[in-house]
Symmetry: C2
Subunit: 430 residues, 2 copies
């Protein structure tokens, strides 16, 4: 039977929206947003899209009008009653009322601020300006829209069966990865793949496949909408944008040196347990830990997001021992460029020595490598970052110089302030 | 939106029928049925299910009650108006009104005769008795029901995602085969996989994939229902049951020796062109051709269905040359146990020397080998054959002694009459 009503309803859509909800975003964005809303609500920031894979000519692949429509659609979104109820009523990391009332009231009234879109040769310049708590919520939907419009541009050229077989192959691949992961004892892994996903529906499928295939080893998804819909845990803590903006706001070098710890001091006041996860690499992991105050060693764990992950984990283990902490009680979350082989390798080295977790991103939700001619669906390295705060440029160094960003002079100053020596350059896959 | 009406409608089905139409059968069954209806309408025959893969314990896998329900459902079927219109109005092999009015009137009133079902240890004894034109139409649906109930028994134990991934893998496999076939120039291939298909929906998918992937190289399907639904050609000519029953009816050895040619003489009167395809292996290809009347050499081609296919094709080529025919004008249809490698090999040897076609069966529509534990979905060799005609046993020798059937004494007599010497035993895969 043809469901005429559904067909007619579908025809009524002016566009097929990619992001249909303000909580189709990463959980840590909301945690950070609440923190920013309390501690730095008036900071003016600029976020900007950066395509680190300049070989992917986004402006040739994606129609500007379509992109604009998708972004405008996001600006029309507001928190639904059910979404608000879920955020207010849900247990996150075992804690109720994670989100305070004043934040929720603000969030319920939020519409995302304007965007600025311009084509520059084969790339788009896409920037967002305004108050930090508002602008920061653009990051994930903006990335998801660009990634999915690029997917659609390629899929548009394919026949019905080619499409079916494409997804059959992609499903087979994900499932085979899951079957390999199933063999790792005491695995703990979450989906971190919202920002560079192939599409919303695909991420949703991957999450369900992970749940079905891994059972309790699958700890949840960073995507709030999917967590809500599929009744799994929402996962995440904090990201580089906090120290980057705090650092940009610092008045002098001494304040700059303190900035990354101030961030975590603010965070410490707000959160406990599994949310107290250090992200130490913004200005070099080694220096950050060497100079860290003792109370940080009492935190639950660390997230490793750039450089050689095993090296970073070893540095953290040594640091905990130095500070009189038992590494076996600490959690290490790996989240950079993971795939099955790397997960297996890191698990082999660190299981037992620390509590190991994995935040699996792009190669879970967008591994379409090799599935179409010219590898036109391969994931690529697109980010959307805070580039300015109150008129000053932000800087990120990380443990991989290929991930560094900011004006060259500022990068040099930061390296000096944070005592960052020579670094190994590693290829950024995704 | 939930389509409540469809859901409710689905709940009303007492069973989920496997065969939903009398033309969900092979086209050549209808062609042969019309011939039998004209030439031997009163012959009493017994058809019987034979599981050549005794390691597959059908009666342990398939519930007897369910099997009975499915078979009873088939007995409730009659030709629908649209099906009748399609058979009467369609062009088959470029010819209109392939089916005569008297036959169509009979067919429109047909209900399939009773069946006899009994469990014997781990197998079912399933037989059909009655007049030849009626009983013969049981063969394909009976096989399809058993194959699909066996599939369902295995699928019943699988989770939702396992199922999705199973089909993703099977689709990927079929599509990869199609991609390999696409590289063969001037390929001509049809679906012959109804009888041992994984399921109806799967065969339907395979046919659509073949059409999409191969274009004109895909010449059609043997399945009338799918041919009608998908608007592709219905393909087929004649099968072993004609010479087997004609031979069983022979009064003495001289009549027996003539029987296979009488079949084709009757066929000659009815059909021309692409339907004049010799199936020479029932009692040994070499002997059949050596003793064939000259008018047979004028036929369009030959179908190779047992033994070493290249050897049989070479025999046919020599025979045509001997009889003053140009082999390059003749069609050779390979239809036994084909898969891509074999197809490629045969095409390489015979393309250009003869017109080559392929009737691809079980390894198109049921290649689930290796996709579930214990290979529980691997295809197996199930047949449903005429075993008796007017009280006398039938015999088949073929070019592979592993495919021979009939009482031992009769097999010996047939070998003598048809001058069949030593044969190479080849493993029967499907």
């Amino acid at each position: 039977m043809v469901d005429i009503a559904t067909r007619v309803w579908n025809h009524k859509w002016k566009i097929d929206p990619i992001v249909r909800s303000l909580i189709d975003t990463d959980f840590y964005k909301l945690l950070m947003c609440q923190s920013v809303f309390r501690n730095k609500p008036d900071t003016q920031v600029t976020f900007s899209l950066i395509n680190r894979s300049s070989a992917v000519p986004l402006a040739r692949l994606i129609d500007e009008g379509e992109l604009r429509e998708q972004l405008e659609h996001i600006r029309s979104l507001s928190l639904s009653r059910g979404e608000s109820t879920w955020l207010r009523g849900n247990t996150f990391y075992g804690k109720r009322q994670m989100f305070r009332s004043d934040f929720m009231e603000w969030f319920e009234n939020l519409r995302l601020p304007p965007f600025h879109l311009e084509r520059r040769d084969d790339q788009y310049e896409l920037t967002f300006e305004g108050s930090w708590p508002e602008v920061m919520l653009w990051e994930i939907p903006a990335l998801a829209v660009l990634m999915e419009l690029r997917s659609r541009a390629v899929l548009d050229l394919m026949g019905k069966f080619e499409l079916q077989v494409l997804y059959a192959r992609a499903m087979t691949r994900v499932w085979e990865k899951i079957e390999q992961l199933r063999e790792i004892p005491d695995l703990s892994i979450a989906d971190f793949g919202t920002r560079r996903r192939h599409s919303y529906l695909w991420q949703d499928w991957c999450v369900q496949a992970m749940r079905e295939g891994l059972g309790n080893a699958f700890t949840g998804t960073s995507n709030c909408k999917i967590a809500m819909q599929r009744e799994v845990e929402a996962i995440g803590t904090n990201a580089h944008e906090l120290p980057m903006v705090y650092a940009a706001l610092a008045e002098d070098d001494a304040a700059l040196a303190r900035a990354p710890y101030e961030v975590l001091s603010d965070w410490h006041d707000e959160h406990e347990g599994n949310l107290r996860i250090i992200l130490p690499d913004t200005y070099g992991t080694q220096g950050f830990l060497d100079n860290a105050p003792d109370w940080l060693a009492g935190w639950t764990g660390i997230r490793v997001d750039s450089g050689d992950p095993a090296a970073a984990a070893r540095i953290a283990i040594d640091w905990w021992r130095d500070r009189g902490e038992d590494p076996a009680e600490k959690r290490v979350i790996f989240s950079d460029g993971l795939d099955v082989e790397k997960i297996r390798e890191l698990h082999r080295e660190f299981a037992g020595r620390v509590k190991v977790s994995f935040g699996w991103g792009t190669l879970l939700t967008n591994d379409f490598r090799g599935l179409v001619p010219d590898d036109a669906l391969a994931p690529f390295s697109l980010v959307c970052k805070a580039v300015e705060a109150n008129g000053r440029p932000t800087v990120k160094l990380s443990d991989n110089p290929n991930k560094a960003m900011g004006p060259a002079a500022e990068i040099d100053r930061y390296k000096l302030v944070f005592g960052v020596g020579p670094q190994d350059a590693l290829k950024v896959v995704v």
